[in-house]
Structure formats: structure tokens, C-alpha cells
């Protein structure tokens, strides 16, 4: 491989970055969706009466047990058969977001269960309702504890966004594949570039989460979020 090859890759960089931007959009969408549903599912599993808790458990069991690519195909190719036509992007956000919510629910559930019961009891003794105690006392502590596990989930779903390639979302892998189709000599360098871009993103994301963790650390408490 001579320098000319890399110069060519360089000329394709704007296109690759355009694709990567779509991955980042997918990531933000699915993380937000996963967070919202994940918190609710975890709260239901820990605090809700049996039927609701069971429903939440069944939900996480399903989305943790089915491969991402199957979920993507179900949402994009399968749903139109019952009259639900989604754009490829939306189908990817939903499929990957639901899947992520199931994993995030596990993270939050563990954190909720690790908050000592005395915290809830003291809140109730003050006259806070159960919901108020969860909102003001238990959840803020649990979310801090969740950050370490959450950074893991972030790294994992960041990479999963490339699976949207499979249903035709024009993200970075699809862009790379278009480039490669035009110029086969670029195959190795172009995929190496994509790999490098993800390494940078993973590093930057985990760095940001690490900073957040430090900022949110409770003074005097060692080794806890």
C-alpha cells in the first residue's frame, strides 16, 4: 500500500464522516429511548406489584434474548406485513433502542436493589410518598451507581449501530461499502479507517462518561459512583 491509497481514503473522509454522523444520531436516539424505557422497566421490576413487574421482566427477557439483527429485520421487514411501515432509520432506533432498554433495565435494577432499605425508610418517615422517596432519594443514588455499567452499554450499542447497515440505513459501514465497490484496492484501508473512527468515538464517549462520573461522585464516598 503506497501513500497514494491513503490520499484517496482521505478524499473519501467527508463521505465517511457523513455516514458516521448517522451512527451518532442512531446512538443518541437509541440510548435516549433505552434509558427512558430502561428506568421505567427497572422501577416496575423492583417496586411494582406482581403483574406489572412480571410484564417488565418478560419484556427484558425478550429483548435480551433475540439477536439484534433479527430485531432489525422484524421491525423493518416484518412490521409492514401488519401495516406498520417504518423508515429504516426509525426501525433501527426502535429495534436497537428496545434491546438496549432491556440491558439498561438490568443495570438500573441492580443499582436500585443496592440502595440500603434505610434510605427509603428514612424518606417515608419524613412523610414523603413512596413515589416521592423513589424520585428524590432512591433514583438519584441508583443512577450514580449505574454510570459504570452504563458506560459499558454505551460502548456496546455504539458498535451495534453499524448493524443498521443490514436494513439499508446509509451509515458509515454502508458508505465504506459503496466506496469499496467503486475501488477494490481501498478495501483494507477503508475498513481500517472505519475501525479507527469507532476507536476514537468509543474513547471520547467513555472519557465523557468518566468525567460525568467524577463530577457526580459523592464526596467522602470512595469507590462508589
Amino acid at each position: 500500500m503506497d501513500l497514494g491509497v491513503w490520499a484517496q481514503v482521505g478524499s473519501y473522509l467527508p463521505v465517511l464522516l457523513q455516514g458516521l454522523l448517522v451512527n451518532v444520531e442512531l446512538l443518541l436516539g437509541l440510548l435516549a429511548l433505552g434509558f427512558a424505557i430502561g428506568v421505567v422497566a427497572a422501577l416496575l421490576e423492583v417496586y411494582a406489584p406482581r403483574p406489572l413487574g412480571f410484564l417488565a421482566s418478560a419484556y427484558t427477557w425478550f429483548f435480551r434474548g433475540v439477536p439484534e439483527i433479527v430485531l432489525l429485520f422484524l421491525f423493518y421487514f416484518g412490521l409492514p406485513q401488519i401495516g406498520l411501515r417504518l423508515s429504516a432509520f426509525l426501525a433501527a432506533v426502535l429495534a436497537l433502542g428496545f434491546r438496549s432498554s432491556a440491558y439498561q433495565a438490568q443495570i438500573f435494577r441492580g443499582a436500585l436493589l443496592s440502595i440500603p432499605t434505610g434510605q427509603m425508610m428514612a424518606a417515608r418517615a419524613l412523610g414523603l410518598s413512596r413515589l416521592g422517596a423513589i424520585r428524590h432519594i432512591v433514583l438519584p443514588q441508583a443512577l450514580r451507581l449505574s454510570l459504570a455499567g452504563w458506560s459499558n452499554e454505551f460502548s456496546s450499542v455504539l458498535k451495534d449501530t453499524t448493524l443498521a447497515w443490514g436494513i439499508g440505513v446509509v451509515e458509515v459501514m454502508r458508505q465504506a461499502t459503496y466506496i469499496r465497490a467503486r475501488n477494490f484496492t481501498l478495501t483494507l484501508p477503508i475498513y481500517l479507517t472505519v475501525a479507527f473512527l469507532f476507536l476514537v468515538l468509543t474513547y471520547a464517549g467513555n472519557f465523557a462518561i468518566g468525567m460525568a462520573e467524577k463530577r457526580l461522585r459523592i464526596p467522602g464516598l470512595e469507590g462508589r459512583g
Binding site: P116, G118, Q119, M121, A122, A123, R124, A125, L126, G127, L128, S129, G132, H136, I137, P140, Q141, R144, I218, P219, G220, L221
Partner: protein, 249 residues
């Protein structure tokens, strides 16, 4: 009228009956100290009074409000009963100030400025104004317990319940917490204190309640109970506990 009336409380955990019919009354401004071997239902009794634990049977009145009524507004009632836990249970993610302020803001619906002023005044009362911005993990056990007392006092409780407030503390930190409680009793707070601190019991209790096996064995003013208990077992327990914990405090 009595400020607190407890009638025939029963509580069972599985096969074990922890409370077997406990009754007591408390006049406004009165301090009762509950003593007895561990596992005899003292903590359960306190928790049944504000229904942190649901009693199986029996009734509780706070003034003319029935706490055990089916439709009782528990959050409203609990806001009037201060509870101090053995292991403090300060909210770990909040500063001392926010711990004391939380109930004022979220339960009493007080404005932020007013709540802050009130919370600072309570912290000052327990000698911890300078620690307002410290987190619980940055405070000693004695300081944490004083903040938790301030947290309870900020709500203007009609009644304070102390569940072994010094049992989790190093000996040299017990005094500062007892001092706050003695001051409270002097100011006329109505309180029930579960404790082994006999010095405290002697000096501030209007009545000592001796519990064992889920029932009240004997109750009366400290000088009577210490000098001439009616039940031999009471005297025996008092002698033992006084030897063990001394008269300090």
C-alpha cells in the same frame, strides 16, 4: 388529653410474636425511655407508632388523630412524628443542609429561602451549622446522628421517636448526641427513646418502660424503678445494664 395513645399493639413476624399487646400513653412534653433486652420488640413498637411497620392489631392515636385508621393520611401523620434511626439513615447523596431541607421543600411545600433559613437554624441547634455543605460520608457518626435529629426537628414534630440513637456510635461520640437529646427534653419535646444509656434515662426520663418478650413488664419514674421495682426481673435487668453501660451521659 394524651398526645400519644397506644392500645394493645400486636405484631407477628412469621412464627414469632414480637409485640404481644403493648399499651402506653404519653402526655405532651413527656419523655419515656424504653429499655429491655434486644429482640423484645422495642424497635418494632416505635415503627408501629408511625406505621413504618404495619401492626397486626391494636390502635394508635396522635392527639385526636387515629394513626391506625384505615383512611389515615400516613404521609401527613409521619411528617408530624420525628424518627431517629440507630444507623442515622442520612440521604447519602445530599449535603447536611439538603438532608434537613428536603422534608421542608418536598413534604411541607415550603419556599426555598424559608426552608434554607429553617434548616440552617436546626443545624445550628445541633451545633453543626459549619458542616452544612458536608456530605454524610464526610461526617463522624456523632455528627451524622445530630444532622438526622436536625432533619427530624425541622418538620416541627409533635413527637420524636429515637430508636437506639447512640448504639452505632463509638463511645467518645455518644455524649454529643445525648447532649442534644437532653436539651430537647428540657425544651419540652415529647419523646420516646429506646436506649441502653442509663445515665440519660435517669436524668431526663419522666418514666422508664421495661419491655421483655413483647410486653411491658413494668413502667414508672426512674427513681422508683431503680430503687424499688415491683417485678424482680426489672431490678435484675437494670443492675446488669447499668454495670455494662455505666452511668455516663
Amino acid at each position: 388529653m394524651a398526645l400519644l395513645r397506644v392500645e394493645d399493639l400486636h405484631k407477628r413476624y412469621g412464627h414469632e410474636e414480637v409485640l404481644k399487646g403493648v399499651s402506653l400513653t404519653l402526655a405532651a412534653g413527656e419523655t419515656k425511655v424504653v429499655i429491655g433486652p434486644s429482640g423484645t420488640g422495642k424497635s418494632t413498637l416505635l415503627r408501629c407508632i408511625n406505621r413504618l411497620t404495619e401492626p397486626d392489631r391494636g390502635r394508635v392515636w396522635l392527639g385526636d388523630l387515629e394513626v391506625t385508621a384505615r383512611r389515615a393520611d400516613l404521609n401527613k401523620i409521619r411528617a408530624q412524628i420525628g424518627f431517629v434511626f440507630q444507623d442515622f439513615n442520612l440521604f447519602t447523596h445530599l449535603t447536611a443542609l439538603d438532608n434537613v431541607r428536603l422534608g421542608l421543600l418536598k413534604v411541607r411545600g415550603m419556599g426555598r429561602r424559608e426552608a434554607t433559613e429553617r434548616a440552617m437554624a436546626e443545624l445550628e441547634r445541633v451545633g453543626l451549622k459549619a458542616k452544612a455543605s458536608a456530605y454524610p460520608a464526610q461526617l463522624s457518626g456523632g455528627q451524622q446522628q445530630r444532622v438526622s435529629i436536625a432533619r427530624a426537628l425541622a418538620m416541627d414534630p409533635k413527637l420524636m421517636l429515637f430508636d437506639e440513637p447512640t448504639s452505632a456510635l463509638d463511645p467518645e461520640l455518644i455524649g454529643e448526641v445525648l447532649a442534644v437529646m437532653i436539651q430537647l427534653a428540657k425544651e419540652g419535646m415529647t419523646m420516646i427513646v429506646v436506649t441502653h444509656e442509663m445515665g440519660f434515662a435517669r436524668s431526663v426520663a419522666d418514666e422508664i418502660v421495661f419491655m421483655e418478650g413483647g410486653v411491658i413488664v413494668e413502667q414508672g419514674p426512674p427513681e422508683v424503678l431503680f430503687r424499688s421495682p415491683k417485678v424482680p426481673r426489672t431490678g435484675e435487668f437494670l443492675r446488669k445494664i447499668s454495670e455494662l453501660y455505666g452511668e455516663a451521659g
